[in-house]
């Protein structure tokens, strides 16, 4: 049987008293483009580090192509872009790329890499003088220079403005056409949607959803509704409606629904006055909450604490 690109078997990881991952199992097949999505501190980077063999799982096992991820053979077949990794400021772009190319058995040509990452006019610039966005492109060039079968991107567009983010997405898509497996982490639902065929949502060290982007969106595309009524609505008023996380506190009503119009129409049909009506789109934090089905307010607080 052909082994999967990446496998996590029942992986748990704790740092001292902090449990970063709780028995996570994941199988990524060859050619898949997978986004690992979750709020800051959810365990995305830890998952990637374990997949790469940069961190050892406390329990469980990680495999790359069915091999231990730390082996030179396995690492010769992957490319990695990590968060906040630096570059030696006194080397030139071309020098660093040429150095990294010697690490891999079948590297792409330097010219091709420079061209593909839009660094051709910066080839002889010292790395220390590059802007953040340009450095990000260098990291990407280093990640793909070995023509990897699996490309790991940890928050690849973190800190980029909207425009450079879109350009970066195009580069990732272009690389994906080579048939490589791509694993990227992001806390941006839009980014996951734009790039991935499969989205794995992680929260508090657990996988809470694993679905296609449309599947995830269907589960999270809700609106947050809140209003006050002139007098309390009768018990069971919303019972047969498609909404979740309903909270009725005297005359204050809040709920989440992907079709708020239906519920609101019913409210307006009563003789009850409605005030303070607010309809807001659900952010990622809340989307994740709606996936976990955890209690609203305290969960949001908790994830804010960690970010």
């Amino acid at each position: 049987m052909r082994s999967a690109s990446v496998e996590l078997h029942d992986v748990s990881k704790s740092y001292g008293n902090v449990q970063a991952l709780h028995s996570v199992s994941l199988r990524i097949e060859r050619g898949e483009v997978v986004a690992v999505l979750g709020p800051n501190g959810a365990g995305k980077s830890t998952s990637i580090a374990i997949m790469l063999g940069l961190r050892r799982p406390t329990t469980g096992q990680a495999l790359l192509f069915g091999e231990p991820p730390g082996s030179r053979r396995a690492r010769s077949r992957i490319g990695v872009m990590l968060q906040e990794s630096g570059v030696p400021p006194t080397l030139k772009v071309r020098e660093l790329i040429d150095l990294f190319r010697t690490y891999y058995p079948r590297p792409l040509s330097t010219e091709e890499l420079l061209l593909q990452t839009g660094l051709d006019d910066k080839a002889n610039t010292l790395l220390g003088t590059l802007s953040g966005g340009q450095k990000q492109r260098v990291y990407f060039a280093l990640a793909i220079c070995g023509d990897p079968e699996v490309l790991f991107l940890d928050e690849p567009t973190n800190g980029l403005d909207v425009e450079s983010r879109r350009v970066f997405w195009d580069r990732i898509r272009e690389f994906a056409t080579r048939g490589a497996t791509i694993v990227l982490t992001t806390h941006n639902l839009q980014e996951a949607d734009a790039l991935a065929h499969r989205i794995v949502v992680i929260d508090k060290g657990r996988i809470v959803a694993d679905d296609t982007p449309s599947g995830i969106k269907a589960r999270t595309a809700g609106k947050h509704i809140s209003f006050t009524t002139g007098h309390p609505l009768p018990l069971g008023f919303f019972d047969d409606l498609p909404l979740s996380r309903l909270a009725v506190n005297e005359s204050a009503v809040t709920f989440v629904s992907s079709e708020p119009e239906v519920a609101l129409k019913r409210v307006f049909r009563t003789d009850c006055t409605v005030s303070d009506l607010e309809i807001t789109a659900i952010g990622l934090e809340e989307a994740v909450l709606s996936l976990t089905g955890r209690n609203g307010s305290s969960g949001v607080e908790a994830s804010r604490d960690r970010s």
């Binding site: 010769s76 990794s85 080397l91 150095l99 690490y103 891999y104």
Partner: protein, 267 residues
């Protein structure tokens, strides 16, 4: 291996050859260090400037049974090579940790020992450059007259004898926080050098310092150098043993520091 591995689609080479990797890494490490002005000035140029200031004006005086210019050349060659070993290693390591580059390097197929070897060779290369420059300066301008073989022994024994300081630099590079590495290294290097008689001959140092000197690694390395230029130094085989012992201690320290870093960063 007992497990049967299906023939991979691209079987001609599963990993890149190591020798070109080592050569490229060595080249990169040399360039990296060459472009750091602070390193060039303090580790490479400083011993020569110091020699011009304190070695040359007394070229007709005598110290330890040889011309003062030869004696001081041996002292500053010791200082120069130790400084390069400590700084090149400590700084490049600390910088890499500051930039978090070492995590990315770890995820590449580059074996850690290749990286370490490239770094060590870089330090030895710069050490050789400092020694050559200093010796040329001493021979031509300082009128230090030694047979060619003696010069070779001086340079060779100083390079070999300074290897313990390479491991000390490694240990410091891992132990201290990245920003403070140069300061921490100087805090070790300068008092050690002073107390070992590298700037002022031991006989002119305060009493207490004179009593401490025979326990310092730099003192024993300097004794080898003084002996090589012909100074009246008693048998130096004891000093060689001291250096070996320090080498073992520093190696142990470096391994402990490395272990600590491993658990912290990659555990």
């Amino acid at each position: 291996m007992t497990k049967e591995v299906p023939a991979p689609a691209r079987s001609e080479s599963l990993a890149a050859p190591l020798l070109p990797m080592l050569v490229a890494q060595l080249k990169a490490e040399l360039i990296k260090l060459w472009r750091v002005p602070a390193f060039l000035v303090f580790s490479v140029a400083f011993p020569i400037v110091l020699y011009a200031c304190i070695g040359l004006p007394r070229s007709d005086a005598r110290l330890g049974g040889v011309s003062a210019s030869a004696y001081i050349l041996a002292s500053l060659a010791t200082y120069g090579v130790v400084s390069v070993m400590l700084h090149s290693f400590g700084n490049s390591l600390a910088n890499e940790r500051a930039q978090r580059m070492h995590v990315l390097m770890r995820a590449t197929p580059l074996p850690g020992w290749i990286h370490l070897t490239a770094r060590s060779l870089t330090a030895v290369g710069f050490g050789l450059a400092v020694l050559l420059a200093l010796c040329l300066f001493g021979a031509i301008i300082g009128n230090v007259d030694l047979p060619l073989a003696r010069w070779a022994v001086l340079i060779g024994s100083l390079l070999l004898g300074s290897l313990p300081f390479l491991t000390l630099g490694l240990g410091i590079g891992y132990l201290v926080s990245p920003g403070s590495a140069p300061a921490a290294i100087n805090l070790v290097l300068l008092p050690l050098s002073f107390a070992s008689g590298l700037f002022v001959p031991v006989s002119q140092l305060p009493d207490l310092v004179q009593r401490v000197a025979p326990f310092l690694p730099t003192y024993h390395l300097a004794r080898v150098a003084w002996y090589t230029v012909g100074a009246e130094t008693p048998d130096v085989s004891g000093s060689v043993l001291w250096l070996v012992a320090y080498g073992v201690v520093f190696m142990f320290l470096a391994l402990r520091a490395l272990e600590r870093e491993e658990t912290r960063q990659f555990g």
